[in-house]
């Protein structure tokens, strides 16, 4: 008996010391923090078994982040040199080095920056960025002033950037984002983004929104030949499914209440925001994947077709009427029109509604 209490204490002590050593191996706090390679499978592993991953590689999600050293991107940004805007702005792009370098010349001096990444698949636009470490080595981001737009097949000012320039060093080159915003930008365009004390580990970025971004780390699944089937998308609740998409495409909770109204064009680019206000959404069980198969390109699945609508509006039930004006082959032009932003980019308005509805008070 006299050794029971000492024995218990000793066991408790040993366990506590072991737990302390585990805590030290964890990045911070008590949260589980997976290291770069722990739990993540090679993306190419998916293609061995899942045919969807082959078509997925061509989607906008998969191509949404590329190194600026990509030959196609290098050629594209170099074409900026011949545009009137660049000449007017004394902007010059050089692709002699591994990454393109942009330079704004003012008299005898030049302000320049290297652009090492490109955001956007090109379906709408491509925006180049340059990573700039600060005094702590944390990663800041320079968003280049000029973006290539598919609709005009040319360069115009990047969305959100000012038309009138101030006098900062980077003003003609673009806008400088601090580390939290840089992380946010990369976070939505990458599957895995290791960050160490504010420094983005660019060499370890899993660029693009790929399989594991939605389906979670799949190392165990791959290693067991598919036996482990955790975190299946089909097992998620409807709200969770939409929330997963809304992580990047924005959730209504992240908008100020007074900004969510049909008179505000700025929310059009945030598809889940509008969708969740729609009566279609609120009175059905639809999710984002009801109309979009993320494994295929938008072109291949006829994203602008009506097959999505007539899944419900088939005329067989009174509470799901067909078009009152007799249109049978072009639902989106009235109920989900494309809206132009301040730049030559158009987004489909996902706030599905009858066009005659007046704006909410």
């Amino acid at each position: 008996m006299k050794f029971v209490i000492p024995g218990l204490l000793l066991s408790l002590l040993a366990w506590s010391i072991w737990r302390e050593s585990q805590d030290r191996a964890i990045a911070s706090g008590d949260l589980p923090e997976l290291e770069v390679t722990r739990g993540w499978a090679l993306e190419t592993s998916c293609q061995e078994c899942h045919s969807q991953s082959q078509s997925f590689a061509e989607t906008g999600h998969a191509l949404t982040l590329r190194p600026a050293s990509d030959p196609v991107l290098r050629q594209l940004i170099q074409s900026l040199n011949t545009t009137p805007a660049a000449q007017r702005d004394s902007m010059q792009v050089s692709t002699e080095g591994r990454f393109p370098r942009v330079q704004h010349r003012e008299g005898q001096h030049a302000n320049d920056a290297e652009l090492d990444w490109c955001f956007g698949s090109g379906r709408h636009a491509r925006t180049w960025v340059g990573t700039l470490p600060d005094s702590d080595g944390a990663t800041n981001l320079l968003e280049f002033r000029w973006t290539w737009y598919r609709d005009v097949d040319g360069f115009q000012v990047t969305p959100g950037q000012p038309t009138e320039l101030d006098s900062g060093y980077y003003s003609h080159l673009g806008v400088l984002f601090d580390q939290p915003k840089a992380r946010r930008c990369f976070g939505c365009h990458a599957t895995h983004l290791p960050v160490d004390a504010g420094q983005i580990q660019v060499a370890k970025i899993q660029a693009g929104v790929t399989c594991q971004r939605c389906h979670g780390p799949r190392e165990a699944h791959v290693q067991t030949g598919g036996s482990i089937q955790e975190h299946r998308w089909s097992g998620l609740s409807r709200d969770e499914q939409v929330a997963r998409c809304a992580e990047c495409h924005r959730h209504p909770e992240e908008q100020t209440p007074d900004s969510i109204h049909i008179g505000n064009p700025d929310i059009v680019r945030f598809q889940p925001v509008g969708l969740m206000q729609s009566e279609c959404f609120q009175r059905s069980k639809m999710t984002c994947t009801s109309c979009h198969d993320p494994h295929q390109t938008m072109e291949s699945q006829n994203s602008g077709g009506i097959w999505q609508c007539i899944q419900c509006h088939d005329g067989k039930q009174d509470d799901r009427p067909v078009c009152g004006s007799g249109q049978l082959d072009n639902c989106l032009s009235c109920h989900m029109p494309k809206v132009s932003m301040d730049r030559p980019v158009r987004f489909t308005d996902h706030w599905i509604r009858i066009p005659s509805e007046k704006p909410l008070p």
Binding site: L10, R19, D30, P32, G137, G168, Y169, P180, A197
Partner: protein
């Protein structure tokens, strides 16, 4: 029979008081003599020490009484050494005194009383005395679990051979006692968790960053020195121990005690109280009296150092910490380091503020209201990394602090002043602004709350004025930037550097070896600032940054986190400002590159070929890492006039720019402004034109 005054015991007690007072004041009070009665916002059930509600004594007096009581108990423990008047009691005395905190006082006294009770007698008096001690512990200390355990052990101890207590005394009385305790635990929420505090921390303690007091601090003198002192005494007095069970108990007690700073004192006291060493030598140390006098002198000196009596004697009041109750702020407070709870335990602070979570890990036992400990830890981490929007963690849970901010509605956020990463991160947050910095806490206020607005503006005004000292006569640092000694100066300056106010930080930090790492960080920040606003690096700022940072990185004592960020920052600076030279560069280009890369030998080689007036100027830049800014200003002022006509206007403009920077750093605005203006006149399109305009605009605001 004459009774001599126990001078030896009095001397030991006095030494203990002085050591404890100096230690507490120097390192800050981490616990209250009678702990706070207010539960935290998230705690569902929390045991409140009844005495804290009844005893209407100000916290300062409570702490003083706890210190006096603790000193008495330490003295009594030292006196009880079988070999008294021995040199070995001094390490024990000093070690225990340096570890003592007011919150340990009551528990220590009661444990001592239990441990020193004699063997059982026929009378039940001892049983009632033990019961009284147990009840007192429940009413007056949070560590009553230790005392109750000691009482139970004493109750169950076999009596002496002359006494054969009846069944009642052997079984019934301890059983009644145990039943009373268990019954109370079932009726009063939080009692049982509070009772097992002395062991529950082993499995409940969060990471060291969140609650350092529940972890060992091997790199802290405050932890290791007293431990070494006590260990020395332990080795001397337990070396002849042969009883296996006692050895096992000793190892376990020591093993448990050294796992946390908080229980190190009580654990070591338990070791000495319960395993009284059976030493063999019996000769008192000769010269014990003079040894005691020396100990008193040293203790008095330490007490003066810790309490700052020298400053007190001059009539100055030492203010060491910010008092948020003087602000308009109200509401919930988030502590990123839960050990700061003691700073928010005053009655006025409890009236105005509610800690979302405090250091009462016993209140985490039940489910926390509206969340869990993991939620709180996650919330703090998201705040630190400014991850406001929702994001999915790799474990499938949702992160992002916005939703929690709406649920928990915190108004103030408190970060440890040494947590540079968090301070830097929060400085970039759109939701928090700095409100005050002292040697221990850096306090951020929530943006948008009108009660925080005035102090946020004032804090920014203070920092901007320290950074760009244009209007020194129009501001006060009171209750915004507070430090009590040189160590706290360093902490406050470090926080200011993390907030990107390097000039302000350099003004506060002394130019000496103790602040080497801080100075390196500030110079690195300055060099980055110039590089970010120009197409080249500053020979003055960058050369100093490179040299000083490299020197700092060579120090073994540099903290790993600071080493990492400094190394990365230096590499980023060099990558940005030192592209490969073109083929066949001229001498000046090579000289420039040598300065920017900190290549002192190359600089000296290239200076040989320059005219003396130019070489003299560049030599000032070479010496600049070791010179205080005042001297740099004087030397540059003397070196620049001879350069007129000898160097191009662009170079002369650069010289004036460096003079302006040095003058700005030393606070000599009357020199800085004309220097920048002269620089502008000589070369309006200088590479430094943008940073120069920034400096001038700030100095003229």
């Amino acid at each position: 029979m004459t009774h001599r005054f126990p001078w030896t015991s009095f001397g030991v007690w006095l030494a203990a008081c002085l050591l404890i007072a100096g230690s507490i004041t120097a390192h800050g009070v981490r616990s209250d003599g009678l702990p706070t009665a207010m539960p935290s916002g998230l705690a569902s059930s929390s045991w409140s020490v009844p005495g804290a509600q009844w005893v209407l004594i100000p916290p300062v007096i409570r702490n003083v009484l706890a210190v006096l009581g603790g000193a008495w108990a330490i003295t009594a423990l030292c006196r009880d050494l079988e070999v008294s008047r021995s040199w070995s009691l001094f390490p024990l005395l000093m070690g225990l005194s340096l570890l003592f905190q007011p919150g340990d006082g009551v528990a220590m006294v009661l444990l001592y009383l239990v441990a020193r009770m004699g063997p059982k007698t026929e009378s039940t008096t001892q049983d009632w005395q033990l019961a009284g001690i147990g009840v007192t512990a429940i009413l007056m200390t949070l560590e009553f679990g230790l005392v109750l355990g000691a009482v139970l052990v004493k109750l169950c101890q076999p009596a002496s051979n002359e006494v054969r207590p009846g069944v009642g005394r052997r079984l019934i009385f301890p059983s009644l006692w145990l039943a009373g305790v268990i019954g109370t635990a079932m009726v009063i929420p939080g009692f049982s968790w509070a009772a097992i505090r002395p062991v529950s921390w082993l499995w409940m303690r969060p990471a060291a960053s969140m609650m350092p007091s529940l972890h060992p601090a091997w790199d802290s003198m405050q932890f290791t020195l007293p431990l070494v002192l006590v260990a020395t005494t332990c080795i001397v007095h337990f070396r002849s121990e042969r009883n296996v069970s006692r050895i096992v108990w000793m190892l376990i007690l020591v093993g448990v005690a050294i796992q946390s700073q908080r229980y190190l004192f009580l654990g070591l006291c338990g070791l000495w109280l319960w395993l009284r060493p059976r030493t063999v030598t019996g000769c008192p140390t000769p010269g014990f009296g003079p040894l005691l006098v020396v100990c008193l002198i040293l203790s008095g000196g330490y007490g003066i150092y810790g309490m700052g009596w020298a400053t007190l004697l001059t009539g100055q009041t030492i203010v060491r910490s910010i008092d948020p109750t003087l602000w308009d702020s109200r509401g919930r407070v988030v502590l990123m380091n839960l050990d700061h709870s003691a700073h928010w335990s005053s009655p006025l602070a409890q009236e105005r503020f509610e800690l979302l979570l405090d250091d009462r890990w016993d209140s985490w036992g039940g489910a926390l209201k509206g969340g869990s400990l993991s939620d709180y830890v996650a919330f703090c981490r998201d705040l630190r990394e400014v991850r406001d929007l929702r994001y999915r963690r790799v474990d499938g849970t949702w992160g992002g602090y916005q939703s929690r901010m709406e649920t928990w509605n915190p108004m103030l956020l408190v970060v440890d002043s040494s947590d540079h990463l968090s301070i830097r991160g929060l400085s970039l947050s759109p939701d928090w602004r700095i409100m005050g910095i002292d040697g221990q806490q850096t306090i951020f206020g929530r943006v948008g709350d009108p009660r925080n607005t005035i102090q946020i503006r004032h804090a920014l005004d203070c920092l901007m004025t320290l950074e760009w000292p244009a209007r020194l006569d129009q501001f006060t640092l009171d209750n915004t930037l507070v430090s009590g000694d040189s160590h706290e100066d360093q902490q406050v300056a470090g926080a200011m550097c993390s907030l990107r106010f390097p000039y302000a930080a350099l003004r506060l930090a002394r130019h000496d070896q103790q602040n080497h790492a801080l100075r390196a960080r500030c110079l690195l920040e300055l060099a980055h600032r110039v590089a970010s606003h120009s197409s080249t690096g500053s020979l003055l700022d960058q050369f100093r940054a490179v040299i000083v940072v490299q020197q700092s990185l060579s120090h073994r004592t540099l903290e790993p986190e600071i080493r990492k960020t400094m190394d990365r920052g230096l590499q980023a600076l060099l990558d940005r400002t030192t592209p490969p030279l073109k083929p066949n560069p001229d001498e000046l280009s090579r000289l420039r590159m040598a300065f920017l890369t900190g290549n002192s030998s190359e600089i000296q080689h290239l200076l040989i070929g320059l005219p003396p007036v130019q070489a003299n100027y560049y030599q000032i830049l070479v010496r600049s890492p070791g010179l205080p800014p005042d001297e740099i200003v004087v030397e540059l002022k003397n070196a620049i006039p001879p350069l007129v006509g000898q160097v191009p206007d662009s170079t002369l403009s650069e010289c004036h720019f460096y003079l302006g920077c040095a003058a700005l750093e030393s606070g000599r605005i009357e020199i800085a402004i004309p220097a920048f203006e002269e620089s502008r006149q000589l070369a309006p399109n200088s590479p430094f034109r943008m940073i120069r305009e920034l400096y001038l605009n700030q100095l003229r605001r």
